[in-house]
C-alpha cells in the first residue's frame, strides 16, 4: 500500500494531464480512483488499486533483456581486461582481482595471515569458493548477468508498484538494462552487481509495502557496504506509523545481526574482517583513484588535518539524512532516490556501476522532468566525464603526458554533475509543491526564491 498526499492530484493543469496519460496507458479493469480518508487530514489513495493490473516484466521487456544480455556478453568478452585495469570501474572492495586473491588465500588457508590483502566479507569469499567457482569465467559471467536482470526486474516491479504505470516500469527496466554504467560494471565482473541487486531488493520491498523485509535487506546491504544505512530514513518516511517503524527496526536488526553473524562464524569467530572493511572505509587507507570525490583530497591533505577531515567527511555522509527527511517527508520515493544518489557520491570507494541504480529510479520523477533546469547539461557532463576518465588516466599513468590533476578534474566534475541532479530535483520538487499549494499565484514569469 502506498500513501500519497492528496494535494498532488489536484490543482495544476499539467499535473492532471500527466495523470490522464497514466490512465490511458494503464492496463487492467480497475481504473476507478478510490479515495480513502484516514485519521490524518491528508487524502490518501491506493495506487495499487487505482492502476493495478498485470505487468509482466519478462513479457514486456523480452527484446530489451535479450539486447542487455548480448551487450553484457559482448562487453565482458571485449572489454573485461581493459575495464578492470581502469580505476573508476573497480575498487578494492568489489574488484574481481581482490576476490580471486581472497578465494585463493582461503583455499590455501592463509586468510588469517593475509594482512589487508582481502577487503571482502568472509561470506562473499565462501560463496565464490564453494558455490560459484571464481576461476570459472563463464560461470561468473552468467552469475553477474543474472544478478543484473534480477536488479532490473525488481526495480521495474517496484516502479510499477509506485507509479502504477507499466510504461514507467518499462523505462526503469530499460534504464537499468541498457545503462552503459551497469553494462560496464557487469563486464568488470565486480561485486557491484551483487550490491546493486541487494539495494534493488530494498527498493522492491519498499514499494511492495513491506517495512520488515525491506529493512531486512537494507541490513544485509549495510553489512556489505556500510553506508546504505542512511536509506533507513526513507523506509521510515514511507512507513511512518509506529508499528511499521518497530517492524522495520526489527527487520534491520535481524538483517545486520544475521549477516554479521554468518560472517563472524565463517571467518573463524573473529572480527578481523570488520577492521579490514569498515575501518578501511572510514580511514580512507587506499588512495587509489576512483570516481569519488575524496581520493585526491586525502593524498594531498596535510598530515595534521587528516584525522579531522576523515571525521568531517564521515559525518558529512550521514549528515543529509535528517534535513532530507524533514524536507521530503511527503515523498518517500524521491527521498529514496536522492539518498541513493548521495550514497554514491559521498561514499569513499564508489565505482561507476554504483550510479546505475539511482539513475534507473530517476524516471519515477517523470512529473518533475519539465521543470528541471540542467537536465541536458548534466546528461552531457556525465557522459563526457565517463568517456574522459580512461583518457585522462592514460595521460597521467600510462603515457605520462598529463598529471593527476587531469584525472581529478574529470572525477570532480562527474561528482558535481551528480550533485546537480540532486539540486535540480529538489528545486523541481519544491516548485511543484508550491504550485500545488497556491496554483493561482503561479504564472509564466513567476520567480521562486528561498526565504
Amino acid at each position: 500500500m502506498l500513501r500519497r498526499r492528496g494535494t498532488r492530484n489536484t490543482g495544476h493543469e499539467e499535473q492532471s494531464e500527466l495523470e490522464t496519460t497514466y490512465y490511458a496507458d494503464a492496463e487492467g479493469p480497475n481504473l476507478t480512483e478510490t479515495l480513502q480518508s484516514e485519521n490524518e487530514t491528508d487524502e490518501i489513495y491506493d495506487a495499487t488499486q487505482t492502476f493495478g493490473g498485470p505487468y509482466s516484466f519478462f513479457g514486456r521487456n523480452c527484446s530489451y533483456i535479450a539486447i542487455a544480455i548480448l551487450c553484457r556478453v559482448a562487453a565482458v568478452l571485449l572489454f573485461h581486461n581493459f575495464l578492470i585495469s581502469q580505476p573508476e570501474w573497480t575498487s578494492p572492495l568489489v574488484s574481481i582481482k581482490n576476490l580471486r586473491d581472497g578465494v585463493i588465500l582461503e583455499r590455501e588457508s592463509l586468510t588469517s595471515a593475509a594482512g589487508n590483502l582481502i577487503r571482502m566479507l568472509p561470506s562473499v569469499i565462501f560463496f565464490f569458493n564453494k558455490v560459484i567457482d571464481v576461476s570459472s569465467f563463464p560461470l561468473l559471467i552468467i552469475f553477474h548477468i543474472f544478478f543484473d536482470i534480477v536488479t532490473a526486474y525488481l526495480l521495474s516491479k517496484a516502479a510499477f508498484k509506485i507509479q502504477g504505470d507499466s510504461t514507467v516500469a518499462q523505462i526503469v527496466a530499460k534504464c537499468f538494462l541498457l545503462n552503459p554504467l551497469a553494462i560496464g560494471s557487469c563486464a568488470c565482473l565486480n561485486l557491484t552487481t551483487f550490491h546493486n541487486a541487494l539495494l534493488a531488493t530494498v527498493v522492491y520491498f519498499f514499494a511492495q509495502g513491506s517495512a520488515m523485509l525491506s529493512s531486512f535487506f537494507l541490513g544485509l546491504a549495510t553489512v556489505s557496504q556500510m553506508f546504505p544505512v542512511t536509506l533507513i530514513a526513507s523506509i521510515w518516511i514511507q512507513f511512518s506509523d509506529w508499528k511499521q517503524i518497530i517492524k522495520s527496526i526489527i527487520g534491520f536488526t535481524a538483517g545486520v545481526s544475521l549477516y554479521l553473524g554468518i560472517n563472524y562464524v565463517l571467518s573463524g569467530n573473529t572480527w578481523g574482517f570488520a577492521s579490514n572493511i569498515y575501518g578501511f572505509m572510514v580511514n580512507y587507507e587506499d588512495l587509489k583513484p576512483n570516481c569519488g570525490l575524496f581520493w585526491y583530497f586525502y593524498s594531498q591533505v596535510f598530515e595534521h588535518f587528516r584525522t579531522f577531515y576523515e571525521y568531517v567527511f564521515l559525518a558529512n555522509s550521514f549528515l543529509y539524512v535528517l534535513p532530507l527527511t524533514l524536507a521530503l517527508r511527503s515523498d518517500p520515493v524521491l527521498h529514496l532516490t536522492l539518498s541513493l544518489l548521495l550514497l554514491v557520491t559521498l561514499s569513499p570507494y564508489p565505482t561507476l556501476g554504483d550510479a546505475a541504480i539511482y539513475m534507473a529510479l530517476l524516471p519515477l520523477q517523470q512529473r518533475h522532468f519539465k521543470s528541471l533546469r540542467y537536465s541536458l547539461l548534466i546528461a552531457c557532463t556525465i557522459t563526457t566525464c565517463v568517456c574522459l576518465m580512461p583518457i585522462m588516466w592514460h595521460m597521467w599513468v600510462v603515457s605520462g603526458s598529463g598529471n593527476a590533476n587531469f584525472y581529478f578534474a574529470v572525477t570532480l566534475i562527474y561528482n558535481v554533475a551528480q550533485l546537480y541532479i540532486l539540486l535540480d530535483l529538489l528545486m523541481a520538487y519544491f516548485r511543484a509543491e508550491v504550485t500545488e499549494v497556491i496554483p493561482e499565484e503561479i504564472t509564466e514569469g513567476t520567480n521562486f526564491v528561498l526565504h
Binding site: 586473491d101 593524498s299 550533485l419 520567480n447
Partner: protein, 578 residues
C-alpha cells in the same frame, strides 16, 4: 702505587687471555672470474652469556645493547654492489643484498618485542650513522628462517628483521664499525682504506652476534666481517699480480697485541708463480692456503706488504661458463600503476637443487596473490612445473608491515625458473613520497637459500680456519644465500603543488551538496511575481561593465598585449594627465 697498577694490568691481561678472545684474519683468493676477493674476519668471544659490567675486548656498545633488549642473536650487514653469482660463484657469507639488512632474535616477553625492536633499530641507527629508522615499522617482517646460534636450552625466540634496499655506505659508517674492534689502528684493520674500499666492485661490512656453546659453557661470539671484491685491472701488461699495497694502497701497520691470532691467508691459485715465503701452507677441503702471520709480514723483508705473481697474464676474452645458482629480478608492465615482478632463478649446476625462495614486498606493492606463478624451463627448454613446498605467506598491512613470501622450490638441473606476480602500486600520501618522488621507490631483493651447499673451495666459515692445522674437511654452518638485484619501481605521483587547490575544490563540491540540501530543509520556496532585485538596472550596468572588461581581455589576448604593458600604458596615461 706502581706495583698495584702493574699487578692490576697483569691480572686483567691474564683474565682476558683466559676468557675473552680476539682473532683477526684476512683471506685473499682469486675467483674463477679472475677477480680478487678479500675477506676480513674479526672474531671476538665473550666470557659468558652474562656481559659486563667490565668489558675488555667485547665492544661495550653491543654488549649493553644485547643486555638491555634481551637479544640472543643480532645481525647487521650493509652491502654495496651486486654479486653476480653465475659469474663469481656463490657469494661469500655472511651476505646481504644491496642495501642494509638487520635482524634480531629476542627472548623474554612477547608483547614488548616490537618496542624493543624499535629501540634496537634506533640505537644501531645512531651507532652506525645509518638510515635504518625507515625500517620501522613498514619494512619490518618476521623471519621464518631457523636460528643460527647454539642455545643452552630451548628458548622461545621472537624474530624481527628488516631490509633497506637503498642505503648508501660511506666512511661515516665505516668508522663506528671499526670502533667495535679492540685494535682500531694496528693490525689487519689498518688495511681497510676507505678510498679503496668504496672504489671496489662489491663490498659489504657487518657483524653477527650469536651464542655459542661447548661443554656446558656458553658465550657470545661476535664476528665482524668485511668483504671487498676487486675488479680485474686492465693495465698494459694485463697481469693480475698483486700485493697488499696494490689492493689497499697501504701496508699493514703495527701488530694488534690484543689478538691471539692475526693472520693473512692466501689461496694458492694454480697459476701462481711466485710469492713471499709463507710461514705455513695448510689444506682445507682440498684447497691450499698460504699462511702469513702479521708479525712476519711486518718483518724487515716485507715491511707490511706481501705479493703474489702469476705465470700468465689475464685473458680478457675468456668466457667462463655460468656457474652455481643465480637469481635476478626484473620489472614488467607498461604503466606506472600496474606491473609484473619477474624473478629468474637459474640453476647452472648439473644436479637439481632445492632452494628456499624469500621475497619481502613493501606494502605499497599491492601484489595479487592469485597471479603468483612458478614455472621452470628445464635443460631441454620445456616448460615444467617445479615442486613447490613449505609455503609461508604473510600479507602486508598498509604502513605497518611488508608482505613476506617464502617457498621451497626444487630447481631441476640446468634449468631456469621464473617466479612472477602481478601487482599494483599503492598511491601514497603526499608526505610519504621521498623528496625525489619521480625517481621511484626500491623493492628489496629476492633471496634464495640453498639447502645443499655449492662448494666455493674457500673456507667460508671462520671456524674452518680456527685450528689452522691441516684440517682436511670443514662444513660451514651458515646457509648459502644468493641475492637478486634490488628493483627501482617508478611510482605514480600526484601533483605536489596542489594541496590548497585540491582542498578548496573538494570543499567546494561538498559544500555544493550541503548548499543544495540545507536551504531546502530550512527555508520555504516563495513565488514572487514582481521583478527580482537581481533584474534591477544597476545589476544590468554591472554586467555591462564586466562584459566590456572581458571584451578588453579578449582583445589583449588576441593582440598579445601583456598585463604589465597595459599597466604601464595606463600609468603613462595617468602621469601625462597629472
Amino acid at each position: 702505587m706502581f706495583w698495584k697498577i702493574l699487578l692490576l694490568t697483569l691480572f686483567g691481561g691474564i683474565l682476558a687471555s683466559n676468557e675473552e678472545s680476539y682473532v683477526e684474519e684476512l683471506l685473499i683468493s682469486r675467483l674463477p672470474s679472475d677477480h680478487h676477493l678479500a675477506q676480513f674476519r674479526f672474531i671476538i668471544t665473550s666470557r659468558s652469556l652474562e656481559l659486563g659490567p667490565n668489558y675488555e675486548l667485547f665492544p661495550r656498545v653491543l654488549g649493553q645493547l644485547l643486555q638491555a633488549h634481551g637479544i640472543q642473536e643480532l645481525e647487521y650487514i650493509a652491502t654495496q654492489g651486486v654479486w653476480h653469482s653465475d659469474h663469481y660463484g656463490p657469494p661469500p657469507q655472511p651476505a646481504s643484498s644491496t642495501g642494509a639488512f638487520l635482524s634480531a632474535k629476542f627472548d623474554g616477553p612477547s608483547n614488548t618485542v616490537d618496542d624493543r625492536w624499535l629501540s634496537v633499530v634506533n640505537s644501531l641507527n645512531g651507532a652506525f650513522c645509518a638510515s635504518l629508522l625507515s625500517m620501522v615499522p613498514a619494512e619490518t617482517y618476521k623471519q621464518k628462517n631457523e636460528r643460527k646460534g647454539d642455545y643452552p636450552k630451548a628458548k622461545k625466540l621472537f624474530s624481527r628483521a628488516g631490509t633497506l634496499p637503498r642505503e648508501a655506505l660511506c666512511t661515516e659508517n665505516l668508522t663506528p664499525w671499526r670502533k667495535l674492534l679492540p685494535c682500531k689502528q694496528n693490525g689487519l684493520i689498518s688495511l681497510l682504506n676507505p678510498h679503496k674500499l668504496y672504489g671496489s666492485l662489491f663490498h659489504s661490512m657487518g657483524f653477527h652476534i650469536h651464542p655459542e656453546c661447548k661443554d656446558n659453557s656458553c658465550w657470545y661470539r661476535l664476528e665482524l666481517s668485511a668483504i671487498v671484491l676487486f675488479d680485474v685491472p686492465i693495465s698494459e701488461n694485463r697481469r693480475l699480480d698483486w700485493s697488499l699495497k696494490s689492493f689497499f694502497d697501504r701496508p699493514i701497520s703495527g701488530v694488534c697485541n690484543a689478538a691471539t691470532r692475526s693472520t693473512v691467508l692466501v689461496h694458492q691459485h694454480e697459476e701462481q708463480a711466485d710469492s713471499d715465503k709463507p710461514a705455513d701452507v695448510i689444506t682445507i677441503n682440498g684447497q691450499q692456503f698460504a699462511v702469513y702471520p702479521t708479525e712476519q709480514i711486518l718483518g724487515e723483508k716485507t715491511e707490511g706488504n706481501i705479493f703474489v705473481r702469476y705465470t700468465k697474464s689475464v685473458d680478457l676474452h675468456k668466457k667462463n661458463p655460468p656457474r652455481a645458482l643465480s637469481i635476478s629480478s626484473t620489472l614488467g608492465g607498461k604503466d606506472t600503476f600496474s606491473g609484473l615482478l619477474l624473478t629468474t632463478i637459474k640453476n647452472n649446476e648439473n644436479e637439481k637443487h632445492t632452494v628456499v625462495y624469500e621475497q619481502v614486498l613493501p606494502w605499497w606493492v599491492r601484489f595479487h596473490y592469485h597471479t603468483k606463478q612458478v614455472l621452470c624451463h628445464d635443460s631441454k627448454q620445456e616448460i615444467v612445473k617445479p615442486y613447490v613446498a613449505n609455503r609461508v605467506f604473510s600479507g602486508a598491512i598498509d604502513r605497518k608491515r611488508p608482505a613476506y613470501i617464502q617457498m621451497e622450490i626444487e630447481l631441476p638441473a640446468n634449468s631456469k625458473c621464473i617466479v612472477s606476480y602481478n601487482f599494483e602500486r599503492a598511491f601514497l600520501r603526499m608526505a610519504e613520497y621521498p623528496p625525489d618522488a619521480n625517481h621511484g621507490l626500491y623493492i628489496p631483493a629476492a633471496t634464495i637459500t640453498l639447502m645443499k651447499r655449492i662448494s666455493t673451495g674457500l673456507p667460508e666459515d671462520s671456524r674452518c680456519t680456527e685450528r689452522l692445522g691441516n684440517s682436511s674437511e670443514c662444513e660451514p654452518r651458515a646457509k648459502q644465500m644468493v641475492f637478486s638485484n634490488v628493483l627501482l619501481v617508478p611510482m605514480p605521483v600526484p601533483d605536489f603543488s596542489m594541496p590548497f587547490n585540491v582542498i578548496c575544490l573538494v570543499g567546494t563540491a561538498v559544500s555544493l551538496c550541503f548548499g543544495a540540501v540545507h536551504p531546502f530543509s530550512t527555508r520555504i520556496l516563495v513565488p514572487i511575481n514582481e521583478k527580482l532585485p537581481g533584474q534591477s538596472i544597476w545589476r544590468t550596468i554591472f554586467r555591462g561593465i564586466l562584459l566590456v572588461l572581458m571584451a578588453g581581455a579578449c582583445y589583449m589576448e588576441y593582440n598579445n598585449i601583456s598585463l604589465n604593458a597595459l599597466r604601464r600604458e595606463i600609468e603613462k596615461l595617468l602621469s601625462f594627465q597629472f
